[in-house]
Symmetry: C2
Subunit: 495 residues, 2 copies
């Protein structure tokens, strides 16, 4: 057995434990009775500990060095080895005491945050968040030193490898300038259009669920390798041969269920399209959180909210729910599901203003990690920043800096992925349209196959072979660039 083969076997074992964790996490969110929660936490902690132990075990460093010294011509194996080294460097950069302290502080803070958010009481969680930020800064410094990166970049790299603040800042400033001009125009145009008609409910949940399943199948999800279930918050999980998406249902409105399912189906199709020859190896994994978000958003925002797809979807909805046909016309669905507006809550934001929510968080978390913003000053900085970006006042912290779980759970550097993903989705869609004839004609038949085929070749099948920007360059001819996203928004909301 060569050093590379030993490493490959080790990483496969780690990935297999990761699959077990993934299914157990899915179960915790969908099936588990509440009384199982404490034991489940232990199970997941033991599995995570075992994965970590396997990664930092004696001999791994020597195997990495030996494999790196061996001649290697296969680009997949070369990339795989590079990613193994990267994972090893990240895992060994943090002293075990710090990892434990972070786990404890994050878990404690997150619990208090739930209550603080409910009561809109930032003071209640402040000292917990201070500890979380303190430890995150320590971790960022340790990772930065091991990876030779700036501290915030070292954190961002944990969610989307290769992403750097300089690139992100530039893309985000460009977008801010666009938004300042575009948002008022989009609002004006929207105000001139008729208000959307709301289809008359109720919409029985069993009917919604069966419809969502049919839509996911139509989009290309094969239920011999997938499930659709219910959870408090929609998500996509499971493993590449057993992907599990969830949605939530409201009898009064099917919007949320349907849009969540098409979004999660995008994530699931990515996992299903990863190359099975590289399963359970670092190079065979999805390319990062921004890449993943690009795949959910290309399906949801680019494909399924397009005029073409809505022309197919409307009659499907009408057939499922009955009642008057007019609200299910594609023009009305477009008015219903493509509205812009200045709102306080990120997860409810439309695709044009969503990046503003992300930009605010990107700026604030950089400052928190740099130490130039204290936790005590966070609510004020949030409210000022929000007003400056979207021109509205934040009435309370519940709808301000307490709204998202991320920071309170120790996740700094994640937020940019959402908007980088949205931009990448537009860029990939534009490239797919250029190279796949009949892509939109197929969407009019509810047929995603041409788009999916192109994504299989250009994104899914590449897994983690390339860095995010290189993946985009090979697929679209350029690294991440906001111009296709801006063009998409202009076409949809300004013309």
């Amino acid at each position: 057995m060569t050093a590379y083969d030993r490493l490959a076997a080790r990483f496969a074992r780690m990935a297999t434990l990761g699959e077990a964790s993934s299914v157990l996490s899915w179960d915790a969110a969908t099936m588990m009775p509440t009384g199982g929660g404490v034991a489940r936490g232990d199970q997941l902690a033991v599995l995570a500990g075992m994965q970590h132990t396997l990664l930092v075990a004696p001999g791994v460093d020597e195997d990495l060095a030996e494999a790196e010294a061996a001649e290697e011509t296969d680009e997949w194996r070369t990339a795989n080895l590079r990613l193994m080294r990267h994972a090893y460097t990240r895992a060994t950069a943090l002293p075990p005491d710090l990892v434990e302290a972070e786990a404890r502080a994050n878990s404690a803070c997150e619990k208090v945050w739930r209550e603080a958010r409910r009561l809109s009481d930032f003071a209640m969680v402040r000292s917990h968040l201070e500890e979380v930020v303190h430890l995150a800064r320590e971790a960022a410094a340790a990772l930065a030193s091991a990876l030779d990166l700036d501290p915030y970049d070292a954190l961002m790299d944990g969610y989307q490898r290769g992403m750097r603040t300089t690139d992100v800042s530039q893309v985000f400033s460009d977008y801010q300038a666009f938004l300042r001009e575009a948002l008022p125009r989009a609002e004006e145009r929207q105000a001139r259009n008729p208000a959307p008609l709301r289809p008359a409910g109720p919409f029985p949940i069993a009917v919604q669920e069966a419809l969502c399943r049919r839509i996911a199948e139509r989009l290309g999800l094969d239920f011999a390798h997938a499930r659709l279930d219910r959870s408090a918050h929609p998500f996509s999980g499971g493993t590449p041969t057993d992907v599990r998406i969830t949605s939530r249902y409201d009898e009064a409105d099917f919007t949320q269920a349907v849009l969540a399912v098409v979004h999660e189906t995008g994530h699931a199709l990515y996992e299903r399209g990863l190359p099975s020859a590289w399963a359970r190896q670092p190079v065979g994994e999805a390319a990062g959180m921004a890449a993943h978000e690009s795949q959910s958003l290309i399906v949801e925002m680019q494909a399924c909210r397009s005029d073409a797809f809505l022309a197919w979807l409307g009659p499907e909805l009408h057939a499922a729910f009955g009642g008057q046909a007019v609200p299910y016309g594609s023009a009305n669905l477009a008015r219903m599901w493509r509205r812009v507006g200045r709102s306080l809550i990120r997860v409810d934001a439309d695709e044009m203003t969503y990046p503003a929510h992300v930009i605010l968080r990107f700026q604030l978390e950089q400052a928190l990690v740099a130490g130039s913003l204290t936790v005590a000053d966070l609510p004020g900085a949030w409210n000022d920043g929000f007003h400056s970006l979207l021109g509205i006042e934040v009435p309370d912290d519940r709808r301000g800096c307490l709204q998202d779980i991320h920071w309170y759970d120790g996740a700094f550097g994640y937020f940019p992925s959402y908007t980088l993903g949205a931009m990448a989705a537009a860029q990939l869609m534009a490239a797919a349209r250029r190279s796949v004839p009949g892509l939109d004609a197929a969407l009019e038949r509810g047929d995603l196959a041409p788009l999916l085929g192109w994504l299989r070749s250009n994104v899914h099948g590449k897994a983690s072979l390339l860095e995010f920007n290189e993946l985009l360059s090979q697929a679209t001819g350029k690294p991440l660039d906001p111009s296709d996203f801006k063009a998409h928004l202009a076409a949809r909301y300004l013309s």
Copy 2:
């Protein structure tokens, strides 16, 4: 940290991995799309491998020796340490090559067996079973030498610690003599009674499922720590704080669903009643497979099929399904659910003839392990033995020696547990009746609480503190003894 504490932490870790496996196995049987099967097999194999590695790791032997040498007065800790040593001895007795060869051979044989059973073609699976038996004999010899037991006893010990062939043979001969005389009398008496009336269906599956859930709750299962789902074969799984039972449903007949749920609820109540202070330690586990079966059968056969409980259950069934009331009378339910008869299939057998099915397998598997019966001669020996025990001819191997998965999956020594459990259930029920006033009066109200309270104190709460016979002795005043079981059958079928 003392040696004992190190061992306790190690066994807790192993048990936590075991919990993960248990939930993943439940998922595989209830939720998993077929396409997830291959990856799930890998996940379970890796988890089993990690548990094994933790158990046989360097230093464990030394820790055991050090802990054994230390003074210890707490009986739970003493028993826990003894069970750790026992687990270690079993795990280190088998060379890794043999364990792997067994896993491969069992898995291959089981696959072929599915087809061979369908086609009733023993020749098809014969060579596979020969290999399985060959390896099982090797394993039995290795375990026997490590545990200082006879080979077959060493296998049986893996399912029910402390059970020995000499005890089992005596109990089984005693029962054979009883059956020879009792079965014809029970059949005669049954023939004189009116045939049971079948309630008129269909019985909508959603109604059955909701009813089954209510019954399980009524029996004491708390759904904050439990689930009820569907699977091809009913089972009980999960973990002590998150027990998961399953059933299967037939719209034409609710019998199977209801009886499976009460049976599995018995298993689940045992797991729920294990002492939480000893969770994840060997001494905190259920006392073995015979002990477990005693808990499902005391709920199903002793409590729920009693006249008292049927008097409560009948009106519940009638309220759920409607239609005529007469078939739901307790006398008719008793005639329906307490019939004896000579049948070919173990899993369909009634409680009086079921032991004959087990005795046949016990005799044949002893001979296979001893080498006095060849696989080639198995079908003939089966058919002869079956005729001699129950007086009927076996028409084909599908309904003969191909019917059960156990041997084809390498499980030798398991079968006796079923009947030892049935006997223990009767013995425990008799003791509970003696010491709990109003036990049957409570059953007439569908109230299992008095019985359950007694079981909590005398069985569940003892976990693995005592060997099976000692557990029975402390609870009932005597080790396993078939007389209460015979008395139960005589009262139910002969008087």
